[in-house]
Symmetry: C2
Subunit: 385 residues, 2 copies
């Protein structure tokens, strides 16, 4: 930056052609330009270390070759949020493949309007929003402005709103049906409330499975957390206490967030309820967080990197001006059964008959001793400190 910038016109001059010609060559629009001329331009560019000025190009073309991602909070990156990290990895990889860069836009702007201004001010060609609140004002504003936007892991009712999401209703259904099949009849649900579309949807799916099994949906015990706060031990403690004192106490918990699910699974034994002996626990996302929990958590999986990749594809198509048959790309969810779920102590034989994986059951019991010991060790540790 010390030496003044080499411009396209400098290259053109050096190659003995006009800026127009140089521009054509350098942008692969070299229809009917003699190979010899092309070479001259290319050589000159290399010799002078020519690098196009991105802002100038953006100004002239109206395209930045950049896509934005709105972060709910900077902490979206920190340890916990494997969910976010996995999606982001998919987004970045795909964006790079398409020769696009990714601009991180933290939602920590003082007002959503200033964020809106930046986004629509030509910083990016389009934007991805991830798991935002249904009450979010930025999303409808962008839609209204017809700015290219793809919502990831949430949707709005607006039909113009493109989104890439999972079939959360089915995800909830899978979780609950698994428990019902194991013989559970009283289930507690922890979820973010209706402020997130997937919260509402997963709960609906859970309800469906329960009703389908001939149980009353009123038997579901539902508790919401405040999604505006990061997962807090305080909340977990309260939730566990709430669970423990329910009467009759449920024999299973479905927690719609993976981090909180892990925290709950770790807190339950402290409150005297072991997992899965006393309580079965089902989490969502099924990343390493569920897998490394003690015991490993049965979890509803969504294909996170694929979601990220699909989001980029849809967004680029939208930027290109393409049209879409449907406004939402939906991925299926599946259930990864691990060691945190089993038949309740006094299982109704109806459900128990549906269990298939005998091999798994054996394995589970063989491990049980180790898991119990470990659980006790944890507790000692807690009290000892």
């Amino acid at each position: 930056m010390a030496t003044s910038r080499v411009r396209l016109s400098d290259v053109a001059k050096a190659a003995g052609v006009s800026p127009t010609t140089a521009s054509f060559v350098l942008n692969d629009r070299c229809e009917s330009i003699p190979a010899e001329t092309q070479q001259r331009v290319l050589d000159a560019a290399r010799r002078l270390h020519y690098r196009p000025h991105i802002a100038a190009r953006a100004l002239a073309t109206g395209r930045t070759r950049r896509i934005g991602i709105v972060l709910n909070q900077p902490e979206s990156f920190s340890t916990n949020d494997t969910y976010f990290a996995e999606i982001l990895a998919g987004i970045i990889r795909r964006a790079t493949e398409h020769d696009r860069n990714v601009l991180l836009l933290s939602a920590h702007y003082t007002t959503w309007r200033s964020l809106f201004a930046d986004i629509t001010g030509g910083a990016v060609d389009g934007v991805l929003q991830i798991s935002r609140f249904v009450s979010d004002e930025l999303t409808p504003a962008l839609i209204e402005a017809e700015f290219p936007l793809v919502c990831v892991s949430f949707r709005t009712d607006d039909e113009r709103c493109l989104s890439v999401d999972c079939d959360n209703e089915s995800g909830g259904y899978l979780a609950a049906r698994h428990l019902v099949e194991l013989g559970h009849t009283r289930i507690a649900v922890l979820y973010p409330g209706d402020v997130l579309s997937w919260g509402r949807e997963r709960l609906a799916g859970i309800r469906r499975a329960v009703v389908e099994a001939g149980l009353s949906p009123d038997g579901l015990q539902v508790r919401a957390w405040d999604e505006k706060r990061l997962p807090e031990p305080t909340w977990v403690r309260d939730a566990v206490e709430w669970f423990r004192t329910l009467d009759p106490r449920p024999t299973a918990v479905i927690c719609c967030d993976e981090i909180r699910a892990r925290m709950v699974a770790e807190m339950l034994p402290v409150a005297g309820l072991s997992v899965p002996e006393d309580v079965s626990v089902v989490s969502f996302n099924s990343t390493e967080i569920s897998d490394r929990c003690i015991p490993p958590l049965t979890s509803v999986r969504q294909p996170l990197p694929e979601i990220g990749r699909a989001a980029v594809d849809v967004l680029l198509e939208r930027i290109r001006g393409g049209t879409f048959d449907a406004s939402v790309v939906q991925f299926p969810m599946s259930l990864d059964i691990r060691q945190s779920t089993r038949r309740p102590r006094c299982a109704a034989s109806t459900g128990a008959s549906l269990i298939k994986a005998t091999g798994k059951t054996r394995m589970r019991s063989r491990e049980a001793s180790g898991i119990r010991s470990r659980t006790r060790a944890r507790k000692d540790q807690e009290h000892g400190e």
Copy 2:
């Protein structure tokens, strides 16, 4: 974007002033402009929903208010790399505080030259590079071009190169001294080789501690991994096998990478060596990864979010044209002692005398049974599958 853009001149016209005046007002350069005029401009801007065009401004000012981050790989985000995520969280938060956006530049460009072109092509005002190879060609090229750059978690020999890093030599020293004090005399070291500056430095610190204790540095068994690949089970398996068959076999391992340390700690019992009974393990970074390992790993901590924040501060100062006393900001490292280290089975009494925390020792043995059980459970699981 459907309706054509509102320009500054439109606002000026609506307010009955010239573009210059409008520009002044909108950019808070309103020295000596009547409050009444200012209000007219502000009103007009709001009424017309004026949003400045970022690329145009960047072209005119030569400033983008954007900083770039070069990612080694898109996977930098995925679960594993807590190290990276923590630093990034610090970077984003600080950048947002300074009203800057962050552009992600994946190093997966086909050539470093094209990355170089993008960076210096006016996409960003400055760039942060994180933990890159000493052989990286991009870094010296940026320095040579005098482009604002701050290296995070690595450094080059070039004095013009600004960097924010930890005192890795002391970190290595702390790790090794801890082991020596516990009575270990034979130590194995796993590190990335000299391709990363911190690899070289940590090893040097380890050597210093060993020599200081009157031991021969030749007793250190050192093995490198290929940093160009993500942590692989294959490598871990080989490393553990290498360790197991060393003669005489070391009683401790220092692994300079947290993920690999965890993998090693998990693989050792599979090979018949329990942690910490047979082998003590020390890792680096001390994030949740070490903390949640079984047993929790003693680990050398670095203040990751602070590093990210400092990197942004330094970069912005550099962009502003500031000068610096020193070219490197260095944070201290500290040791978090957890359950993966203890006296070797036949500890030399020399070292043992240095142990202080009697309380801890007691606690550790109280937990030992639980940990051992858990270790066995893991092994069963491995064989069972």
